[in-house]
Amino acid sequence: MVRSTPGRASPLKVAMYWASSCGGCDISLLEIGPRLLQLMDMADVVFWPCATDFKYADVAGYADGYIDVCLFNGGIRSTEHEEVARLLRAKSRTLVAYGACASEGGIPALANLSPPNGLFETVYGSNPSLHNPSHIVPQTRVATEFGELELPRQLDHVLRLRDVVEVDYVIPGCPPQADQVWSVIELVASGGVPARNRALKVGCGHKSVCDECPREKRRMKIDSFKRPHLAIPEAGWCLLEQGFVCSGPATRSGCGALCITAGQACRGCYGPTAGAGDQGLALVTAIGSNLAARDEARAREQVAEIADPAGTFYRFSVAGSLLHGRREPLQ
């Protein structure tokens, strides 16, 4: 049990920030439960917009390196996120990319699969409930009689935290699971990890989700692909072998195969396995080698049964993938 930091006169200074995120990472920190009380004993929160009232100006006033550990969640979607990432990098001894969005782009990085331009027309021009007769769209600067109002510019693509600043550690997951998070907190508090490391993955396993999955592999080839709502899977048997696309083989372990225990296939939120690089490509390989098809024509037919392969294989990892972002408009 962690009480205080050995050899430290003062408690750890901890910050948590959200960039382009949903708040689930912040909630995941609450999920450590009664251990929150221990965290209170050993750490002072010096910035956490979700739960405390420190402002950007407070952070800007801290000395460089003042924050011992900053847990940064969310992808980089706007110029504001870039600015805050740089600020927190300068103020933090250890900067952690916390969760799927900061580490691989996460769900919002699916936007990278669409061309960046020409989207205003969709939202401010053609949504069913829209009433916008003057075709107003938001501006980065708007002058009023009292002064100018500013908005950050939205970037063309969602970036990972490490695309913008140097990151010491990465905790994957959407969101990271409480026990994993706690093990990292204990490690940091005990002085067990060096302050700087090049995006070393912590708080996760080193194998694939299949290694944690309770379902049995029967060494059966995939006959045909099935959509999850259109067929009921047989209990106890590997979902992928039954034809339900599952990212388990290409996804890093650490979650405990939670989605699969709820009867749903893995969608890959813990990111690629160690050394695999591109998660979608790894899944293509895993699936390709398990097709029942005996010739190329049948294999093509089988693959065509998969609904939305790019958005499924790269559900959480577009920003970190070889696809990264479609640079040119489709048409």
Binding site: W18, S78, Y124, T140, E150, L258, T261
Partner: protein, 497 residues
């Protein structure tokens, strides 16, 4: 944070609150003071968009409950359920009884957990520690220090058991994955049902405890009661909420009812008709849109009977419903209306922004009572009837639930393979966007006064105006992004319409 190059216009001074805190998501407030030190204007901006409506195009519709749950990690169940209901409509499936019961049970337990999180972690520091307490203490940890570890442990237990329930239903404790078109991805076992009953029973006791705490600490303190009843935190708007066939408040299903500032019904609609009743206005100075009632139209940033601005908050839901659906919540409802309007029947509307906190605690009681009813239903753990496989071709569907922060609408149009062609989402907080702007401005005008030096506590009192809404700008900024064109000019922060 935008490194500001912009100055206030000559004769004005800018005070900026950036970022706004103790809420979900991003926002900032610019207050413009005139030479006399009075508030000339106050502008609340949402600086972010994530683009869900755009990048959901092309995704398989059955994945929408899993994808849109990531709009908000605080209320993922709300998006998951609205998405699943929209999917049910897309495939024209009718849920088997057990599936229907399981969905509402999961949702009710979630609702208690979510409201408790807002009350203790985000809202209560302003009341239990006080609006002028040091910002370093004004948070959940400060509350635990003040109220003691025993109460703190209960708060933590509520959150943790809520997570445990979410994991029983949906695998992942923070973001469950189990609602699918046609029902749920798994049934619950008898053992799981028994555990859920323990959790629901605890939640009901905790909700009653929280209601008592609210009475003792907030209503029992004349200074806080004055603050709640004061002018800067009062404005009249129309009210929206989901009701059952007897106009009782429902969180999971029913029709959307809107009442005017006096309580007369403006409209009542089924989910599929939402776009006949709600439309969204756009402003150039924020990424978030402003929904309004089409029956009245967008009249600008004004409140009152003649404005299309409405609110969709716990308070609005109590206004819009004729009664609560469970006995203890009904008792609390009558006391709330009696105390605030002098009429226990609820026929006179409440418009005190800070009293939204009280309404939220009353809703906690209803959600917990409902969870306990559902978990004891003889069909809840039926191992067969937890889902049905859709057989109709996919098309178009709308799903609505009451998210903790307001009425949540998901609308999908798919192609013949069930891939999403169009997605439109009007989320809880977005409903309240115009009202939040009005509340912040009114609070700023009331708090900041000529000749009184500006303090951090005063700025916090301005933030209290939006905190009452439990806003989630993570949810609200789900919309489409894009590169904004260059500058345009409007005269006045609030252009005339």
């Amino acid at each position: 944070m935008t490194t500001s190059h912009a100055a206030a216009a000559p004769g004005y001074r800018r005070v900026r609150i950036d970022p706004v805190t103790r809420l979900e998501g991003h926002g900032k407030i610019d207050i413009f003071l005139d030479e006399a030190g009075e508030v000339a204007d106050c502008c609340f901006q949402v600086p972010e968009l994530r683009g869900f409506e755009r990048f959901c195009q092309g995704r398989p519709v059955e994945e929408m409950p899993r994808i849109t749950a990531r709009i908000c990690g605080v209320c993922p169940e709300a998006h998951m359920m609205a998405a699943a209901k929209a999917c049910d409509a897309v495939y024209r499936v009718t849920l088997p009884l057990t599936a229907r019961l399981l969905r509402e049970l999961q949702y009710s337990i979630f609702f208690v957990t979510d409201h408790a999180t807002h009350f203790y972690a985000l809202a209560a520091p302003d009341f239990i520690l006080g609006p002028d307490a040091s910002p370093a203490d004004r948070n959940l940890l400060g509350i635990i220090r003040k109220l003691g570890v025993e109460v703190g442990s209960k708060v933590i237990q509520c959150r943790q058991w809520g997570h445990e329930a979410a994991a029983i239903f949906g695998g992942k404790p923070v973001i469950p994955v189990n609602a699918i078109p046609g029902g749920m991805s798994k049934p619950i076992t008898g053992d799981e049902r028994r555990r859920l009953e323990e959790i629901a029973a605890f939640q009901l006791e905790f909700a009653k405890f929280t209601l008592k705490l609210f009475h003792d600490v907030v209503l029992g303190n004349p200074a806080y009661l004055d603050l709640i009843l004061s002018g800067p935190y009062y404005h009249e708007t129309h009210s929206m909420g989901l009701v059952d066939e007897r106009n009782r408040l429902n969180f999971y299903d029913g029709q959307v009812r809107v009442v005017d500032i006096q309580g007369f019904e403006v409209c009542k609609y089924a989910p599929r008709d939402y776009s006949k009743h709600i439309a969204e206005h756009v402003e150039p100075w924020t990424y978030l849109k402003f929904p309004f009632l089409t029956a009245i139209g967008w009249k600008g940033f004004v409140d009152g009977q003649a404005s299309g601005v409405y609110r969709a908050t716990p308070q609005s839901r109590l206004n819009a419903a004729d009664s609560m659906a469970t006995p203890l919540a009904q008792e609390a409802y009558e006391e709330y209306f009696e105390r605030l309007t002098g009429d226990a029947s609820g026929r006179r509307m409440v418009h005190h922004t800070l009293a939204i906190h009280w309404a939220r605690v009353i809703e906690m009681v209803q959600a917990a009572e409902r969870a306990l009813e559902l978990v004891r239903h003889p069909e809840i753990a039926n191992p067969e009837k937890y889902r049905v496989v859709p057989t109709e071709p996919p098309g178009e569907g709308v799903g609505i639930v009451e998210a903790p922060r307001g009425t949540l609408t998901h609308h999908y149009v798919t192609d013949e393979n069930g891939l999403v062609r169009k997605a439109n989402l009007i989320v809880g907080t977005t409903n309240n966007h115009a009202a939040i702007c009005l509340s912040i401005k009114k609070a700023a005008q009331g708090v900041i006064r000529r000749g009184v030096p500006l303090t951090e506590g005063m700025l916090n009192r301005i933030e209290m105006a939006f905190r009452a809404y439990d806003p989630c700008f993570g949810c609200a900024t789900h919309g489409v992004f894009g590169r904004p064109p260059l500058q345009i000019r409007v005269h006045g922060a609030v252009p005339e319409v």
